[in-house]
């Protein structure tokens, strides 16, 4: 029994992992879709989920914010994208990139893939430069191309169509694996081949590089990154306690320049590492979760594996 307790203490999921699992399940609650081979068509699909979750996934109960944004931009000729901009503003102001670290199903998939034991590629100047790629993808594939073709009355959700691996993984694989959708095989062509290869590449890279899609490709993370400094929730540093040792930056798996910047996904792994206990999870000025210590001021060993717990 003691051995079991020790094993459980060492292997139990962190709070963040549990929240990620619940969020993924909540955003994909229509599990019957996998059994029937059909997507959910209820009224809840009018509401966007905060993370990247393809609305063609049989289990998805909400709309993908990125897909909906591209369609709204592409149909700008018909009406302005007030609803989508309002929705993204609301998510960004309240949560910012907390969504990436706590609520996004694609983030969860990437973190689980990274758990596969292989040699890992550490962050460097190259990865820091590569993080700007997602802003280029946001500008070109999410805004410019849909707008350009939308003005010619041709809706082209360019990111979803040419890049997004979530659509291939959740939508294509989820739908086409069901016998009821065998007729859709005849529609597959070069587009699917390209997207499938992008999916395989993304999955392979995520095994070796922590959250590679999130850091280098995802335009939704780029969008939420604009709200880094004004988002209500997030990990913050108490400047009065900080000694500028830089340990938080060195141990952070993301390419941050400072805690809470546009690359920070607010996973909270720096909270346990800070020797001055200067980092906490806050909602505005209210501290939701501070660094945990035992009686001697040390972080308990079983909580040092990272993430809020």
């Amino acid at each position: 029994m003691d051995k079991l307790n020790v094993w459980w203490r060492n292997h139990r999921p962190t709070t963040r992992r549990l929240v990620q699992l619940y969020a993924a399940l909540l955003q994909n609650a229509h599990l019957r879709g996998f059994v029937e081979g059909e997507i959910y068509t209820g009224p809840a699909k009018a509401v966007c989920v905060p993370g990247l979750n393809c609305y063609s996934c049989p289990a998805a109960v909400g709309a993908c914010p990125l897909g909906a944004l591209q369609n709204a931009i592409a149909s700008r000729a018909n009406r302005p994208a007030f609803y989508m901009v309002g929705m993204l503003l609301l998510f960004g102001l309240t949560l910012g990139r907390v969504i990436c670290g706590w609520l996004c199903p694609m983030g969860l998939i990437q973190e689980l893939l990274h758990k596969i034991p292989t040699p890992k590629l550490q962050k460097s100047r190259v990865t820091r430069v590569l993080t700007w790629l997602k802003y280029v993808i946001l500008a070109v594939f999410v805004v410019i191309i849909p707008l350009w073709y939308g003005l010619q009355k041709i809706p082209v959700p360019a990111f979803c169509k040419y890049i997004c691996p979530a659509g291939t993984l959740e939508g294509a694989v989820g739908l086409l694996s069901h016998p009821a959708n065998a007729d859709k095989f005849s529609m597959l062509g070069i587009l699917f081949t390209r997207k499938f290869e992008i999916l395989v590449f993304a999955v392979t890279v995520c095994i070796f590089v922590y959250r590679a899609f999130c850091r280098f490709i995802c335009p939704l993370g780029a969008l939420y990154g604009f709200f880094a400094r004004i988002a209500l929730l997030g990990v913050r540093v108490d400047a009065t306690k900080c000694s500028s040792c830089g340990l938080c930056l060195r141990t952070c798996p993301m390419d941050v320049r400072f805690v809470g910047d546009h690359e920070c996904i607010h996973c909270g792994s720096c909270m346990g590492k800070c020797p001055e206990k200067a980092i906490s999870f806050r909602a505005g000025k209210i501290v939701l979760k501070g660094p945990e210590t035992d009686g001697a001021g040390r972080t308990p060993a079983h909580k040092q594996k990272g993430g809020c717990s």
Partner: protein, 173 residues
């Protein structure tokens, strides 16, 4: 019988060192095996997809009909069957690595410590009055935009798009 404790202790130490050396070698072997098999499996999947596509194009050309499907369920199942031994090997390697090594940690290797304060004064995200005012204004703008979006039919657009399968998103074109 007299027991030479020093010999026994030395023997035990060298056994521990051997054991450490062995487990380090095993660890490296498992990590490299999983890495190589992952790359091989990824390459095999990409090549299989390409071969299916070009095979389908050939079939279409032979049939002389543009309506002939490029991907068929049988062809995909055949390709998956051919890859399955490699996939099973990968799976077995991953399970072995997970059993012997556990899962890979989330955090990175911590580089050597620099001198305290060498990173320079740390930038922090502060919570000030102006930020609170900006946030309130933006919240108000978000609510107004949401209401306008619902009134001008934006909500309905999202619903209509979401309840139909996005063929472009899943690669059907």
């Amino acid at each position: 019988m007299k027991i030479d404790k020093s010999e026994t202790v030395q023997g035990r130490l060298s056994e521990t060192e051997k054991g450490k050396h062995c487990s380090e070698r095993l660890r490296r072997f498992l990590l490299r095996t999983v890495a190589v098999l992952t790359l091989l499996l990824g390459a095999a999947l990409c090549i299989a997809a390409l071969m299916l596509y070009f095979g389908g194009l050939e079939r279409r050309a032979a049939a002389g009909s543009a309506m002939e499907p490029i991907f068929t369920r049988e062809a995909v199942e055949g390709a998956l069957l051919r890859i399955s031994p490699l996939a099973l090997l990968w799976f077995a390697a991953v399970i072995s690595a997970l059993c012997f090594l556990g899962t890979a940690p989330d955090s990175v290797r911590v580089p050597r410590e620099k001198k305290p304060g060498a990173a320079g004064p740390m930038k922090t995200v502060t919570e000030g009055r102006s930020k609170r005012i900006l946030r309130i204004c933006l919240y108000a703008a978000a609510v107004i935009l949401l209401v306008l979006g619902v009134l001008n039919g934006g909500l309905k657009d999202v619903l209509i798009k979401a309840i139909n399968i996005c063929t472009e998103c899943i690669g059907l074109g």
